[in-house]
Symmetry: C2
Subunit: 244 residues, 2 copies
DNA sequence: CGAAGAGTTGAAACAGGTCAATCTACGTGG
DNA sequence: CCACGTAGATTGACCTGTTTCAACTCTTCG
C-alpha cells in the first residue's frame, strides 16, 4: 500500500501525465498492476493488439522490431521512469515494436482503454501527452542524426556523456547500466565493433574502462571528441528527458 | 478569394487539423498568408525563435540541420499537404531544424501563437494534433530502421515504391519528384552512391531510368528486392501519410 | 557558343560487418 | 572448494558497402 502510493506519485509526475487533475490520474490507474519480470520475458510483440502499456519502475526493457528475414533492430532500451506501449493508442491499437525484459525489472502495467478514455475526457492530459510526444520526436530526430553523422567511437562517447553529470569538472566514474552487447545493439552496432570502438575511445580521450565501470578523466575532452559532429549546441541536452 | 477558399479547405482536412470545429480553424487561419518562394530561399533556421509555421501547397521544402563542423544533415523533403515548423510550439518555441525551398514553392504561412492559443482552447485540435504527432513518430521510427538495415539500392527502391501506386499490376511509370542529388541527401547517401546504387537497382530489378522518369516493370519484384529487410509487413504503409 | 550545374565513372581509402578462435568471469554442481 | 560450463567480451583476418576525391560527360540555359 505504502509502496503503491510511492509508485503512484512517481507516475503522476512522469512526463506524459504531469499536471493532470487527480481524478484523471485515478482513472488512468484504475486497472493498474505492479509486476516483476525476469530477464528474457517477452512483454508484447510488434503489431499485436495493444491492451496494456507499461511504466518502468526498476530494471531495463528492450524495444525492438524484427524484419521478414529475421534480423532484429533495437529501437531503444528503457529504464526507470519510462513508458512503453503508450503510443499504441494513436496507432490503430497496435504495438509499434516488441518489448522484452533486458534486465530483471519492476513494472506498472496499465490499461490502454483507460488511457484512451481519459484522453477523451481531459484536455490537460492531451496537452501533456502532446509535450511528451514532441520530446520523443526530438529524441528520434537526434537519433537519426547521430547514426548518420557519428562514428562508432563517437556514439559510445555520446552514450557515456549522457550517463555522467555533464557539469562536473574533475574525474568522473560511471557504470555501464547494462551488458556491452546490449549497449552495442542500442547504438546500432555489432558487439565486436563496440569492443574495438571502445578501445579506440580509450586511446583518443583518455577514459579508463574496467568491466562495467568507466573513469572519465575529462568530460570536456569527451565532448570535444564527440559533439563536433552534432547539431545540438550543448551536448544532447534533449536526449536526457525520460522517454517511452 | 476563391483560391483562398480552396486552400482553406485543404488545410482544414490536413492531418493535424482534421475534425476541428470551424471557429478553431478560423482562429488558426487568422494571421495566415499565402506566399511564393524561389528555390534556395531560407524560411527559418534551426534554434531560431519560431513565430511562423508553414503548410506546403505546391513545390518542395528541404528540412536540415548543420553540425558544428559544418556538415549538413537532411531531415526530410516535404511536398504538397505537409506542415513544417508546427512542432516548435512544443519545443520551447524554437525551430527543430532549418528549412529551405528546394523547388519553387507555394506556401501558407501561419502563426505559431495562434496555434498555441487554439490548442489551449480546443480539445479536438489537441487530439488530432496527437494523432499527427504519433504518425510522425512512426515515420521517424521507420526511417531509423531503414537507414540501419537497408542498403543504398534498397533505400532507393523503397523510395520508388512510395512514389508508385503499389496496387498496380503491370508496368508503371513514375517521375522523380526532385533532383537526384536531393533524393540522395534525403536518403542519407552521397550523390555518387546514389548514381551507382541506381545502376545496380536497374540490373537487379529490371527498372528503366531515363532522366527523371522511371519505368517499373514489376512492382512485385521491387518489393521482393527491398522489403525483406523491413519490419513492416506491407511495404511501408505508414510512410505514405502526410507529414511535417 | 560557352559556362554552370547535375550526373556519372574510376581508383583508392575507410568504417563496419562477418566469421572464427580465444579469453574471461562467474555461477553451479560434484 | 574447485573444476567445469556457459555467456559475455575480446581479438585477428578478411570482406563488403559507402565515402572521398578527381576527372569527365551531359544537359540546360543565357
Amino acid at each position: 500500500m505504502v509502496q503503491n502510493e510511492i509508485i503512484e506519485s512517481r507516475i503522476k509526475n512522469a512526463a506524459p501525465f504531469v499536471g493532470c487533475p487527480p481524478d484523471i490520474i485515478q482513472g488512468l490507474l484504475k486497472n493498474a498492476a505492479l509486476q516483476n519480470h525476469k530477464k528474457g520475458r517477452l512483454l508484447f510483440i510488434h503489431e499485436d493488439p495493444a491492451d496494456r502499456y507499461y511504466f518502468v519502475v526498476k530494471g531495463w526493457v528492450k524495444l525492438f522490431r524484427e524484419t521478414l528475414d529475421g534480423t532484429q533492430a533495437v529501437v531503444d532500451i528503457l529504464g526507470a521512469g519510462c513508458f512503453l506501449g503508450e503510443k499504441s493508442v494513436f496507432q490503430d491499437g497496435e504495438y509499434g515494436y516488441s518489448a522484452e525484459i533486458a534486465e530483471e525489472a519492476e513494472l506498472v502495467s496499465l490499461c490502454t482503454q483507460d488511457l484512451k478514455a481519459e484522453l477523451g475526457k481531459s484536455h490537460e492530459l492531451a496537452l501533456s501527452m502532446l509535450r511528451h510526444m514532441a520530446d520523443q520526436n526530438k529524441k528520434q530526430d537526434m537519433e537519426i542524426e547521430h547514426r548518420a553523422l557519428q562514428t562508432a567511437p563517437q556514439r559510445i562517447a555520446c552514450f557515456l556523456l549522457r550517463l555522467v553529470d555533464q557539469s562536473q569538472k574533475g574525474t568522473v566514474i560511471t557504470h555501464l547500466p547494462y551488458d556491452k552487447t546490449l549497449i552495442a545493439s542500442r547504438l546500432g552496432m555489432q558487439p565486436e565493433t563496440f569492443s574495438r570502438a571502445l578501445s579506440k575511445l580509450k586511446q583518443e580521450t583518455g577514459i579508463k574502462v574496467r568491466g562495467a565501470s568507466v573513469e572519465v578523466e575529462s568530460v570536456e575532452r569527451l565532448k570535444n571528441y564527440t559533439c563536433q559532429t552534432c547539431s545540438s549546441d550543448f551536448p544532447c541536452r534533449d536526449l536526457l528527458k525520460k522517454s517511452g
